[in-house]
Subunit: 232 residues, 2 copies
């Protein structure tokens, strides 16, 4: 295949890697954006990333580029989203872009360079190029996976109360979630396990909340084939 030749320009397009780095901050789903200094689209916010190196994989590349913006050790999960290739997606040159979804636990607070900031996904500024659609795809992917995988581990701290986890799920899903049912679903599926410790109540009083943690801290499919599956 590599030897095939056909009658088009032989110049390879530039391959860039982008990431939608998502964290729940202040009860809202937010993503990391970087303000472009140069044309095209100077001044516009865009997804962090950069050009793929000659000897690195896409995942290694996005980790390398993100390291300039955040502490990569804070990334609890990273997965490939899609590759964009419309010939006119970049005004100046032919550019292929592979987008990743990265998740940061809600208790991390990485320091950021001056040109980089968190933005709420439901109130984004105008974004450069086709980045708006990539962010929406990332949000949809996260929402879907909250339903059939254990991906909650990647947005939550190592330990948390159910009320805290409920707020994280509610922020990610964009709708109210009850702690009661959330607990039953996640415990029934063996995603969540209770710890012996409790969290002391605030000055407002209330019963001390039990702490929980996710059983596994890497992605697992927990509800495969919802339908057309035999009982046993």
């Amino acid at each position: 295949m590599a030897q095939d030749r056909f009658a088009t320009l032989n110049r390879e397009p530039t391959h860039v890697v982008l990431a939608v780095v998502v964290q729940i901050r202040g009860g809202r789903l937010q993503t990391l954006l970087w303000q472009r200094a140069r044309e095209p689209d100077a001044g516009r916010w865009s997804l962090p990333g950069g050009v793929l190196g000659a000897a690195e994989s896409l995942e290694a590349s996005i980790r390398r580029h993100l390291a300039a913006k955040v502490d990569v050790a804070e990334l609890s999960h990273l997965e490939q989203l899609q590759t964009l290739s419309e010939p006119d997606r970049h005004p100046d040159e032919r550019q292929i872009a592979t987008a990743y979804l990265g998740l940061v636990p809600s208790d991390a607070d990485p320091s950021l360079p001056a040109d980089t900031a968190w933005h709420a996904i439901d109130a984004l500024p105008p974004l450069a190029f086709d980045h708006q659609g990539i962010v929406q795809a990332a949000r949809d992917r996260l929402r879907a996976k909250l339903s059939y995988t254990n991906i909650g581990f990647a947005i939550a701290p190592a330990q948390f109360t159910l009320a805290e986890l409920r707020d994280l799920y509610a922020a990610a899903l964009g709708r109210a979630v009850t702690a009661t049912n959330l607990q039953r679903i996640l415990v029934r599926r063996h995603l969540l396990e209770p710890l012996a410790e409790h969290r002391a109540p605030t000055s407002a009083g209330g019963r001390p909340a039990r702490l929980f943690r996710f059983v596994h801290r890497s992605l697992e499919i927990t509800d495969e084939f919802a339908v057309l599956r035999p009982r046993s």
Copy 2:
């Protein structure tokens, strides 16, 4: 981003596009493979595809390359799977590959070139490069989407009996499926609609089977957010 420079070789890798073209033939899930004529991996079976052109999108490119193997009009569905980028995935040169999943309805029988043939996915020959894993990913994607989308339209003919559809689902899922429950699930979700016509029984007798068709013939999510969703 495009202007960024860093201390690696500036030569862009070759970008190829591959497709796992899937059809159910003879009650088995099969995929289209092409026998490599040249080194590396000469003689090995590999996924059809080719080099991305300078002015085309990935999807346009895979359609163009597939046109050399099958009648592209037979493709009922085409979606991007993933992009592979391990630096050593090709022995001779740096190569990025974007893989697609293509579906062909079971009643199509496209004519094929001499170097191309259908192979049952559960009994593949050794494949070139990392193509084995791509085929598995394609199969898993199809199986999952049969549960929560209307993707059945893409493996089925325009009209079919429930017994025929059951056999297609069974072949794709790799497990027994009952026509009774399949009908109820798909009719309840308004994916399937009955037609007035019936199919005449064979010489073996039996009640004439009603014909059905899919309501929509493009991909739709039909069972989003199985969990944590209010009763509405």
